[in-house]
Symmetry: C2
Subunit: 488 residues, 2 copies
């Protein structure tokens, strides 16, 4: 998860300089009516990796807002007063009054995170802790507390580099703990992802802040705070906002943008590999152990990226009695009358079978989001609902592979034109395709968010460059073979 | 929990006869617009103890409603089609369309309940199962499914008697399983309570149906369905309703109504016992192991029931440095500006100390509910919030004792008058007391609901007859001594 957040988001000093006054204004414009109306209090939780510059970011935010109504509470190891009371006590003690804002360093997530990283508690105890936090926050939200949670992330190499610098500067002081943090980078990241996945609710959302570039980081923090306060003021309801798609006028680079579209495959090599993996797939699907799993394959991608072609190469080696291809278009009346996942549950294969989805439940957070067919809250909650749906499948022993087939805007144009010019391909291109194309950027952001929020360890996304169709088809085949070979 | 539901609620055949036509009318008046408007579908889950007559109740409901838009789905052991797919698949398959209603026998709770009763899964796995159900239902509710969950309860002796009758009639067929159920009565009841506690959400509430009297049972079911559908139609929002306080015009008897007010104590015996327990309390509170717990004592009860007097006898043997009495009246400005539990969290004692609450957080579901100071949804969610608050305390090693001091309406009148006539007691009686008295029945129902929903194994209520003050004081002292003796 959160692949995008680890990408090198950048902001030049120059654009930061230009942007800062606007941002300060926006923050004050949001905070002042909050102070005046006293309808809710605000908690800003600051968590994430050591070395990501949480302190710096908060210092800047502190300078931007009206500090008379802003308090910063940092929690380390509890002192006597707190140690003799239940763990939540000190957070309750410091809860701000309506109209006020508190920045929380070392929130109620901290001890849970640390205990899990250092294996003081097992997975079940960790999950139970998350459930209780969820309820705690739900109660606060119901009691007019706006909860904004920020998770600061860094790639491991950047974390390392940064810690080195700090070491040099401080001649070794305070750095020991941070080096320990680096050692646990992977476990901390994974545990963090789990926390975010399980406790990102509409009423208390997590925002993942890419922290490589300090200017980008701080603007992302500031903009999110301003926007969330404003939203909460407007509808009087708990806010629910995704990570800001645009920070300071900059397009956010997502994991999908980072797909290397130059990957290619020569014809002879392609034929060889295609045959190899098709044979392997045939063999795998014949195994007796196939009866213990069900295979769910999901194909999403840019229009004209070649989903259909990839699927055709994939089913060729399969016995037609054990697979079904589901092309998902508009829902039927029967489907519209029920929860949106119903149309996919009814297509869940029996064990021993393949279900191949040419488009899928992910349309909820792609076309339905971009075109406004699903309301803001509806597509936002869909990420979790989808994760849970896929977990139901994988917990039952299913294998779920999801492919995002990516092409460039230019390549899409070439393919659209080719379709119009070829008689037997004309049915494949409609006015809607051209209309969607105009919203390329919005779809790119939606796809990035989708990958960030639904690439789980039990059902990961495979990002496929489809600029070269041959490369894409082989990559799809190989990925499925590799996964099945592991499972069967 | 659910003490009230196990009381012998009764309805005469005669009042049932009179009531039935009205109820049918109400059900159809609720169902017809639901069918017509197709805004939501309805799931009616029927769960609870074997032998409680779930089948009979549903048969009656079926007869009362428009059966063309009502389907009854019973789930036993899954058949092949379902066994080869994830457990939730068959429930998804049968999900009704908007406008339609499905009665669900053997819901998604069934296997979890059974696995827990027969110890096939441990407590952690059970809790994890509950979390997933919670999310599943939340998603359905967000997707316009009205979920009503009914839990049918019976006292154990009635269950036994009923199973005997069935055995006679059926000459032993189908009865084996039911006898097994009886054997597990206690575990089934406890597990059921846990389920209800953890999964009773505003958007998918549980209703506990006392099932001793078939007429009462069926009217309670029918009225709740009618009322919930109507509520959902009116505000278009997920309904959240407590158990109906009045079934078929009959006042519901609660656990609080069942307190035996004739209990009494003679003066000499009182003096002896009071001294005995005060000495014991003094000894207990001096123990070294006191530093491992904190003691939270809650006193609630009818006005003039003698909370103050009981507290005074209780603190006498205690070192003043280790206890604090908190008399809870209207919240301060500072308190009003924060979540309602804040004023109690700030009074949570250190370990080794006593905090004694003369009125408490329970005012939320008593006076605030009855007087309308808290909105319907707010006091309804408070039961769970309070349970979680007390769990935070007990998980940290605290001891929580809660006392409900009960007197009769007549005794209260006598005490009110006595207070007015005694100069030094006049300050204890106000106009508000007289006003509250006029709502005696409403307060009685609120108290009953409170005990039903917040008497947990970690923080149980002790119901105390306070008609005789001496009896009450000794009972309070003895209860605290017994609990501390266990703990220390």
């Amino acid at each position: 998860m959160f692949e995008s957040a680890r990408m090198p988001q950048k902001m030049t000093k120059k654009s930061f300089k230009k942007l800062e006054p606007e941002l300060r204004e926006a923050l004050l414009a949001a905070q002042l009516p909050v102070i005046e109306k006293q309808q809710f209090s605000t908690l800003i939780l600051v968590d994430g990796l050591d070395g990501a510059g949480k302190g710096e970011a908060v210092a800047r935010l502190y300078g931007w807002m009206d500090a008379r109504h802003l308090v910063c509470n940092a929690y380390g190891e509890p002192m006597d007063e707190a140690r003799l009371r239940p763990p939540l006590w000190r957070y309750w003690r410091d809860l701000p009054a309506k109209g006020e804002t508190a920045i929380v360093f070392g929130s109620w997530y901290q001890s849970l995170l640390r205990d899990r990283i250092y294996k003081k508690i097992d997975e079940d105890a960790f999950e139970k802790g998350l459930v209780r936090i969820r309820r705690f926050e739900e109660m606060l939200a119901n009691e007019d507390v706006l909860i904004l949670k920020f998770w600061f992330v860094l790639p491991k190499d950047v974390q390392k580099e940064r810690l080195k610098k700090v070491e040099k500067k401080s001649a070794g002081r305070h750095v020991l703990a941070d080096w320990a943090a680096l050692k646990h980078h992977k476990k901390a990241s994974e545990t963090g992802e789990k926390i975010i996945l399980e406790t990102s609710m509409g009423f208390a959302p997590w925002f993942v802040i890419p922290s490589q570039d300090p200017e980008y980081r701080d603007v992302a923090l500031g903009q999110t705070v301003a926007r969330s306060m404003q939203l909460k003021l407007e509808d009087g309801e708990p806010t629910s906002v995704a990570a800001p798609p645009v920070v300071g006028g900059l397009k956010r680079e997502t994991a999908v943008d980072a797909i290397d579209l130059t990957e290619t495959l020569e014809k002879t090599e392609y034929e060889e590999l295609r045959k190899k993996y098709q044979d392997q797939l045939s063999e795998l699907s014949d195994r007796k152990s196939m009866s213990k799993t069900g295979v769910v394959l999901v194909f999403q991608g840019n229009d004209a990226a070649g989903k259909g072609g990839a699927i055709r190469r994939l089913i060729r080696p399969l016995d037609p009695r054990i697979y079904k291809v589901h092309s998902i278009s508009a829902p039927t009346d029967e489907e519209k009358a029920r929860p949106y996942l119903w149309r996919f549950w009814r297509r869940v294969p029996r064990k021993g079978h393949f279900a191949i989805f040419d488009r899928s439940w992910y349309e909820r957070v792609l076309v339905e989001r971009v075109e406004g067919f699903a309301g803001h809250d509806d597509w936002l909650r869909a990420y979790n609902e989808i994760n849970e749906f896929e977990q139901e499948l994988t917990d039952f022993g299913y294998t779920v592979c999801k492919f995002w087939l990516a092409i460039s805007e230019e390549e899409q144009l070439r393919r659209f034109k080719a379709r119009e010019e070829t008689v037997y391909k004309q049915h494949k291109i409609t006015d809607e395709d051209w209309r969607n194309r105009l919203k390329w950027d919005q779809y790119a952001i939606a796809a990035g968010d989708m990958v960030d929020r639904t690439s789980t360890h039990y059902a990961p996304w495979t990002l496929v460059s489809a600029e070269n169709k041959k490369h894409a088809r082989v990559k799809v085949l190989k990925t499925i073979c590799d996964r099945l070979d592991e499972v069967l």
